[in-house]
Symmetry: C2
Subunit: 143 residues, 2 copies
DNA sequence: CATATATCAGATAAATTTTTCTGATTTAAT
DNA sequence: ATTAAATCAGAAAAATTTATCTGATATATG
């Protein structure tokens, strides 16, 4: 099982993180990216299609084509990738699975989870891909 | 999609929370519990079997049988239910899905997520079912 | 213009998770 | 004893998610 994001989303995050460490003039095809993040090529390709539609990633068809970061790494936050792939339900639904969990009708851990959820959102919104670049490089190299 | 726990686990948490608001001398059969937490009877029954094996819930077979909290609500923490059903992988795996994420080989958000993960663990370990009783009652009534 | 190599779109397959079903066993009550 | 009502165990079905395949289209290059 994944932690809080879907597998799709994890792969999307990994792929974008990888792209952010590379010169955005250089294209990487799905095969190359899949190899870098050690994930199945077709799945990576599918996820990159989603991210292409949402404008985070750009693609070029045909020979010597591939994918690239469509925005400057300084402008992209991880939260964008999460929202584009998994949507916002992780940040809205009750952690215990109760329906209609809200301030007016809270579950037993509503406030505590609310705080953690907001901090998680912040964690993904605060730093840009360029802020994370050094750490990302170190991690990618180790894969 | 669920937030961080599986559906099994959500139902387990809800069922145990419900039981903790009731006199532990009284038995509730799967049908009744399912009705209370508004979830499919057979699924509730399956999850209660898991919790019975792990000793959190007790069961009595035969006519007038049913389930009950096997421990005092003052002794049970939500984390026990989570570990019994989903295991500890949520608290161990990399939130970005990278393999071998560790202090020696951290992902770009390793430390930040580590903090949140620990706080989530604490949130589930700190208060007992009896501490949560008032809040639980209020929520259950509203379902 | 022809060819090789990409993405892209959508269908299909496989795997996993969720849900339901069936039958066996247990037990209280008559 | 017999019966009714419950858990329990495991299989089966349905749904969802993950992964793969196929064919169409696009494009750089010779």
């Amino acid at each position: 099982m994944t932690v809080i994001f879907s597998k799709k989303c994890e792969i999307g995050l990994q792929a974008v993180l990888f792209l952010s460490t590379q010169n955005s003039n250089t294209l990487f095809n799905a095969h190359k990216i899949a190899e870098k993040v050690k994930q199945p090529k077709e799945f990576v390709s599918k996820v990159l299609q989603i991210l292409t539609k949402s404008g985070i990633v750009g693609s070029k068809k045909g020979k010597n084509g591939g994918f690239f970061l469509a925005k400057s790494p300084a402008e992209v936050k991880l939260i964008e990738i999460v929202l584009a792939i998994d949507g916002k339900s992780v940040f809205e639904n009750c952690v215990l699975g109760f329906p209609a969990c809200s301030n007016d009708n809270p579950c037993p851990v509503h406030n505590q989870w609310g705080k953690l959820r907001d901090e998680a959102y912040l964690m993904l919104s605060k730093e840009s891909l360029s802020d994370l670049k050094y750490k990302t490089l170190k991690k990618i190299v180790s894969l």
